[in-house]
């Protein structure tokens, strides 16, 4: 891996921004270069929401994602919006509740039950972003699992370690199910 | 009385109060104000209050804004800062917040404190930061030549109210009281002992205090509004203004239209810089 450009999208409140912050934190722990940014304003308060993180072994120039190597979408609206104009080699991870738009016909699309796993298996819907970062990291091989765990524990409220630890495990398991296919 | 020996004072045998030598910068006197202006009297009241409270001048900061009133800061022999128009209270807040051990007195005017600086006045009162604000209210913009201010009575004249002022005036002390000032009082130029006491108590008060002092501006307000000479204007304060003690003995009818001197609000709330010390303790992991 020399440079990965990740875009994570969803609706405000799903923790998409925090997910990119955690991935960036993990990259720093792993000694890599990273640049994380997000859309601000009304979008962050309930509308469609997008955040980006670049992870690279090299010095990062331009800090915005130009040629996404990965898109994750948790809502239909964000998938339809940010799925437009992606490079054909961009991997797409969509929640399995979503319908894949025609524009992604040439892309590799992975559907995983991220939201359902958080709500039902982990037992708390708010852990969806932690399930997601685990799945993303396992799919892309960004950093060691231990680095990711360390990053997650830096950014969650005290007292939620157990449930978020479970979310991580479930996320890893989801990604492994794809890899095994 | 001390003998005068200062290059800037032209009449060397004039009687000068000891307060001038003790708390002022004689080399910068006489002051720039017009003959008959009340600012000098208020300045003396402040000096007397400082004397009464035995405040160390090294520990005293006098802050002012812009306008006739605000030139007073430079005459005091302590740390003095003549700031920008309206912002004296904001500067003073920074000084007090950074060094709560300093005694901070703001000398300001009606325009400075209640027009361009009105926002800072109400918010300093709301926070209850331990500064003392003395408003020299001459009901006019004197430095710029007689425009009506937020305290000019309705119907009075100014150069920008050639047909009479249609604005309603502020009672500045009452405004600050409504905003939460824990000490608010009215003083004037004529009743020197009373006003000095109010200023002294205001400085001694822990928390935000304001003393609005009815000033005398014969040059602009007086002349524009046919109030007579400076002496006439002082006589008006003598005859029509009443002290709190006098007011107690008067009927509502007798008090109608009278300016009553004295404290209008005194409350007990935590002082802001002390409250912030608790924030520091909390941030550093509990009580020290």
């Amino acid at each position: 891996m020399s440079k990965m450009e990740l875009r994570l999208a969803g609706s405000g409140g799903q923790g998409v921004i925090l997910a990119t912050v955690i991935l960036a934190e993990a990259a720093v722990i792993a000694g890599k270069n990273t640049a994380q940014s997000q859309s601000y304003g009304p979008e962050a308060r309930g509308g469609s929401c997008k955040a980006e993180v670049i992870v690279s072994d090299e010095r990062i120039g331009f800090t915005k994602v130009q040629h996404p190597s990965f898109l994750m979408a948790l809502t239909q609206k964000s998938l339809d919006q940010y799925g437009q104009g992606l490079p054909k080699d961009c991997l797409v991870l969509a929640d399995d509740s979503l319908t894949i738009p025609v524009c992604l016909v040439e892309n590799r699309v992975v559907k995983l039950p991220i939201l359902r796993t958080a709500a039902e298996k982990v037992g708390k819907a708010f852990t969806a972003n932690i399930v997601a970062v685990a799945a993303v990291n396992r799919l892309l091989g960004l950093v060691d699992d231990e680095h990711l765990k360390e990053a997650v524990f830096m950014h969650i409220p005290k007292g939620t370690e157990a449930i978020n630890g479970k979310a991580l495990e479930e996320g890893f398991r989801l990604a492994d199910s794809v890899k095994a296919e | 009385m001390a003998k005068v020996d200062m290059t800037d004072v032209r009449e060397k045998d004039v009687n000068v109060s000891d307060l001038v030598f003790k708390y002022m910068r004689p080399e910068h006197l006489p002051h720039i104000w017009c003959p008959g202006c009340g600012n000098g009297i208020i300045m003396r009241d402040v000096a007397q209050a400082i004397e009464d409270l035995k405040i160390n001048r090294n520990n005293l900061v006098v802050v002012s804004g812009i306008g006739c009133s605000s030139r007073a800061a430079g005459y005091f022999d302590c740390s003095t800062i003549h700031t920008t128009h309206g912002r004296a209270i904001a500067f003073a807040t920074g000084i007090k917040m950074a060094r709560p051990e300093l005694e901070v007195v703001v000398l300001t005017g009606d325009g400075d404190a209640s027009a361009i600086g009105g926002n800072h006045l109400i918010h300093a009162a709301r926070r209850n930061i331990g500064i003392t604000v003395i408003v020299m209210n001459n009901t006019i913009y004197g430095m710029t030549g007689g425009q009506y201010s937020p305290t000019t009575p309705t119907g009075d004249y100014g150069t920008t109210a050639p047909y009479g002022n249609i604005d309603r005036p502020f009672d500045v002390a009452l405004l600050a009281a409504a905003a939460g000032a824990t000490y608010a009082a009215h003083g004037d130029c004529f009743h020197v002992p009373e006003t000095t006491r109010l200023i002294r108590d205001g400085i001694a008060h822990k928390g935000f205090s304001i003393i609005e002092v009815a000033d005398v501006c014969p040059t602009y307000y007086g002349r524009k509004n046919k109030k007579g000479s400076a002496v006439d204007m002082m006589r008006n304060q003598k005859e029509n203004f009443v002290t709190a003690a006098q007011a107690k003995r008067m009927s509502p009818e007798e008090l109608e239209g009278r300016y009553v001197l004295g404290v209008i609000q005194e409350l007990d709330f935590p002082e802001y810089t002390e409250a912030y010390e608790k924030v520091i303790e909390k941030a550093q992991g509990g009580a020290k």
């Binding site: - | 920074g94 000084i95 926002n119 912030y276």
Partner: protein
């Protein structure tokens, strides 16, 4: 060993400031600088400092100046609309020679503009916004790490020259998260304002001794009992109507910055050794330039980057050297050409100058810069 942590630009600004000795912050919430207030509110009491949220932008800068007068290193931060409001007291700090750091995280304007979108439209306001001739130092960071380091430098220059320093950030860097190496205390220089050896009532608080850069500054309450004013004053600190003294004062203020160009002005050059095209960028625009340079070099263009880190005073001497060496300078900035005219003034006799500007709230992309490199 330096610790490496993930930090947002705005956060790095506060951490750098605290490392420099900042112990007072007064501010008012405004996007995209609000995190600077939030992090200050959290961090300052932890190190024994003070934070206060003031009623408006005017009060914020006034409050910070007041704190600085007592000898405490103070900062305020804002964005475009608030920076407009702070201008009067910025001039006060220049004239009264009170150290202060003012952060402006620029956003799209004019007026309320696009509050969350990047811009560099305050470059000229930073130079000339307050009325009257005055000296100013303006510094602009292009990465989160540099934000930390330059926040320290802003304080150092402010203290050394007894003048406000403007830390001109932009939304690109302010809201960016990157890894930052936090240097250990003691591994970087900290400058404190010159103070008198003994405090005693002083008649000439603004008197400049032979060989001094600025007059020594006693904190309020130490015993000097001097006067500070925003009126032109003599060396006693009292107002003067003497035109000779007034003129000498303004000249001294201007010269204390102009005469120390070498100490104040810093620039960065990347790939300029063999370049015949130079990109002139500053602040967050540097990031697009770095990628544009890589793309252009891959296509065979000899492109380098010239970046003023100190925005004002204008890095004229270094730019003149660049202009003599290259055949084209491409100026890229998030405004309608504010620095372009400055660059043209210095460079146009020696090389051609092209321009990439953006005022629609989006970021200049590497492709847009590349286009101006490839253009015949």
């Amino acid at each position: 060993m330096a610790k490496r942590v993930l930090m947002q630009g705005n956060e790095a600004c506060v951490e750098g400031a605290i490392a420099a000795g900042m112990r007072f912050y007064a501010g008012y919430p405004i996007t995209p600088s609000t995190e600077i207030a939030e992090v200050s509110a959290l961090r300052l009491p932890q190190v024994g400092g003070k934070f206060i949220q003031m009623e408006d932008e005017l009060a914020s800068i006034a409050c910070a100046i007041g704190a600085s007068a007592t000898g405490v290193k103070a900062m305020t931060a804002t964005s475009g609309p608030g920076f407009s409001l702070k201008q009067e007291n910025l001039g006060y700090a220049c004239l009264a020679e009170i150290p202060l750091v003012v952060v402006d995280v620029q956003r799209s304007g004019p007026s309320t503009g696009l509050p969350t979108s990047p811009s560099q439209g305050d470059v000229m306001m930073a130079r000339w916004g307050t009325h009257g001739d005055h000296p100013i130092i303006v510094i602009s960071p292009s990465s989160v790490r540099e934000t930390y380091e330059l926040a320290i430098r802003c304080f150092n220059l402010s203290e050394k020259y007894r003048t406000p320093v403007i830390f001109l950030m932009d939304e690109i860097v302010g809201h960016l998260r990157e890894g930052v190496e936090i240097p250990e205390a003691g591994t970087f220089e900290i400058v404190d304002r010159p103070v008198p050896e003994h405090y005693y009532p002083k008649k000439h608080a603004y008197h400049l001794e032979e060989g001094e850069l600025v007059p020594k500054m006693a904190p309020f309450g130490a015993g000097e009992r001097y006067n500070v004013t925003g009126l032109l004053h003599d060396d006693t600190g009292f107002p003067t109507n003497n035109n000779k003294i007034a003129g000498d004062l303004v000249e001294r203020l201007m010269k204390k910055i102009d005469d120390n160009y070498d100490d104040i002005v810093t620039t960065e050059e990347v790939g300029m050794e063999d370049a015949d095209i130079a990109l002139y960028v500053y602040g967050g625009t540097m990031r697009a330039a770095l990628t544009a340079m890589e793309m252009a070099r891959a296509k065979g263009f000899k492109v380098g980057i010239f970046r003023p880190v100190t925005i004002w005073p204008f890095a004229e001497r270094e730019l003149r050297e660049v202009a003599k060496k290259v055949k084209r300078i491409v100026v890229a900035e998030h405004n309608y050409g504010q620095m372009l005219r400055e660059v043209e003034r210095v460079a146009k006799d020696d090389c051609e100058v092209r321009f990439v500007g953006k005022v629609n709230g989006t970021v200049i992309t590497p492709e847009e810069i590349l286009q101006k490199i490839e253009e015949a």
